[in-house]
């Protein structure tokens, strides 16, 4: 047993951390919130080959294992990097898992070289979970709307859930084609852009099967868990640093157990989530049957850690933490983006328990 990433993945993580520490972080998030343009950063990320990490060499990529996607998601989350990398990695997983050779050849080279930005989307504005899609495909066109979809404004390709003759599954939609309207929507996250997609008989190419959609959801959940871990860790680090520096009643506030135990609880929740996330990363790469439950556990535990770290980071900062100028708001708001990104803890808890029931039934 080896409960850690491969050396390749670790090397990529070091590279990503070094680059993103320098080029991203809350300061850059703030410039984007204030209307700044992050496309130069995205171009550099493309040049570093990150969107190509998972793309097979035959399709112009680097052909790394899924661990590469996990470490990139974590570092993107940690640095709040305002680039469509995680969306691109999730779309790539969908193509790798479910795409025909022709579909892969059509889209992966462009994703790898940055000429194509790909996003994924399941939400339809209302209260439904990822298991449900009201968008409909008949023949080879899609009707309906998808909102919010992260990073869609600059994207060329969307991997969307919709219900067709076989049930609810994924489809590839060329966002530059006819019948597609992309309009910005405002959300609680003021850094990551989101859009509503309106599909009026947009051409839709089926990607895999309804079962395949759920297999992809597992993989997307693993990546989102690593993103949440990264973001939560950054919030915890910020809180701990402040607790070591701020003085009240003649002492560092970190000396008070009300503060100290809160920091310890952040760490406890993060370590629980990290264990589940690593388990899920292994299951994803190994194609292990535990993936369904491991991915759901990673998703639930990481959202739990993120909500706690983001909320209590504000609290530990006191008045200054509640200001616009404090970086606390980025984690507080991103926490809601990550819930919305792939479905709530309730949905994933239900999915976890259902997969445990199925496992038990199979064993009986």
């Amino acid at each position: 047993m080896d409960f850690d990433f491969s050396d390749d993945a670790k090397a990529l993580r070091e590279q990503a951390r070094k680059f993103l520490d320098e080029r991203s972080g809350p300061k850059v998030a703030r410039t984007v919130m204030d209307g700044g343009d992050a496309t130069p950063l995205w171009r550099e990320v493309v040049d570093l080959g990150w969107p190509a990490a998972r793309v097979p060499e035959a399709n112009g990529g680097v052909g790394m294992s899924s661990e590469a996607a996990c470490v990139l998601a974590e570092e993107t989350g940690r640095s709040l990097a305002p680039v469509p990398l995680i969306q691109s990695l999730m779309a790539t997983e969908a193509l790798l898992l479910l795409g025909t050779a022709a579909q892969q050849a059509r889209w992966l080279p462009g994703i790898a070289d940055g000429s194509i930005i790909a996003v994924t989307g399941w939400a339809e504005g209302g209260a439904a979970s990822p298991a449900v899609a009201h968008a409909r495909v008949s023949g080879d066109t899609m009707r309906g709307s998808k909102s919010p979809v992260a990073d869609a404004a600059a994207a060329h390709l969307a991997v969307l859930s919709a219900t067709g003759s076989n049930g609810t599954q994924l489809y590839l939609v060329d966002l530059t084609g006819p019948g597609v309207a992309v309009t910005p929507v405002a959300t609680l996250d003021l850094v990551r852009p989101h859009s509503a997609l309106t599909l009026a008989d947009a051409s839709a190419d089926p990607l895999g099967t309804p079962d395949g959609y759920h297999d992809w959801l597992d993989r997307a959940a693993v990546l989102s868990a690593f993103e949440a871990l990264g973001t939560a860790t950054a919030a915890m680090d910020m809180a701990v640093a402040y607790a070591k520096e701020r003085v009240a009643f003649g002492q560092k506030i970190g000396r008070y157990q009300g503060v100290k135990h809160k920091c310890a609880d952040m760490f406890i929740k993060l370590e629980l989530a990290r264990g589940h996330a690593l388990h899920a990363a292994w299951a994803m790469e190994a194609g292990a049957p535990e993936l369904r439950q491991a991915a759901a556990a990673a998703r639930v535990a990481s959202l739990e850690a993120l909500a706690f770290c983001a909320e209590e980071n504000v609290q530990i900062h006191g008045g200054i933490g509640y200001t616009w100028d404090s970086d606390c708001q980025f984690y507080y708001r991103r926490n809601r983006a990550l819930v919305a990104g792939l479905g709530s803890r309730t949905f994933w808890s239900e999915r976890l328990v259902r997969s445990l029931e199925q496992r038990n039934a199979a064993a009986a």
Partner: protein, 406 residues
Amino acid sequence: MDFNDTPEDAVYRAKASAWLAANAGEYRNPPAIPYSREEFVRRSRAWQKAKHAAGYTGITWPMAMGGQGLSPMHSIVFSQEQSRYHVPTSLFDIGLGMCLPTVFTHGQPDVVARYVAPALAGDEVWCQLFSEPAAGSDLAGIRTKAVKDGDDWVIDGQKVWTTNAHLSDYGIIVTRTDPSAPKHKGLTMFIVDMHGPGVEARPLKQMSGGSDFNEVFFTGVRVSDSHRLGAVGDGWKVALTTLMHERLAVGGKPSHAPGYATLMALAATIDTDTGPAMAQRDVRQRIAASYIADEGIKLTQMRALSALAKGQVPGPEQSISKVVVAKTMQDMAAFAMDLNEAGGFVTTGADPDLARLQGSYMASAGLRIAGGTDEILRNIIAERVLGLPGDLRPDKDLPFNASVAA
């Protein structure tokens, strides 16, 4: 014990309810679009004036102060009836809830006569100038200094997080008048004119995007000794009067913050992939938890007020209010957004209940800090109610200037 109105309360309730129906009709529903700052101030003043003319201000204040001289029960009854309407009251909460009671408890008679009536009538707005960049929880660590100069005091320093300072006419300020005394001993409080020379309030933007609080700079601001509250060096004691009133004034749920009823209304419209939201046990349990917290705090406050009516002083028990209310708001809002799945995150076109919950998720983060953080309130409960030993305070008995230099 009797949870029903006494005949006297019932008469008062009927009268208040009829007056509100006749005068607050336009506030039956929340405003379709939030008021601009000017509109908010205009409406707040107009509402305060209308109540004042009808005898619904300073309900528990002595008649000599322009109050109604009625019991706390009357005040509760009126608040309950008023809370059925979306009337703008928050502009006066701090002044009438905390500052003016401090003024008439500790102010010199002609100063009291000058300031209490216009505040009650909605003519003058007040703010609380306590916190500083280096002193929030540790209020006695403030550095803004006041130096005696003839019949005046000269104030220099900076306050921060001052709610409504930019809209205020007057403030109550804690200053350090003797830096060589231990931190709690060298403080003195004053009334300060927010429009006076040397006072500058700069609004600060909150995490929520609004700008209700300010940083306030004092440069050579002159205050007459007649505007001192309490004795020189007694500022800590005077500040505690303000803080005791703060627990009553801002301890409860902000009026019209979403509560269990909002969650129920929202859940009734949602179909989850495992059936209607209202049929889910976790949803029903969360509604129950919100009810228990919100109503439990109301009941706790009524217990305190009925003790007050019997002449007892509200104790530190009131500290439980805000600890419960603020965190319940945050958790409930997060749950309600979760229930809306991705829709809970989109602010464009959010329905009014959802928009209020999104706002509440942001505001609750501030409420957990304002007026005593969750942690400080827990310390108060543990130490002053339960008698547990306090934290070690290495700087408590040192001369302030020695501990700051250290």
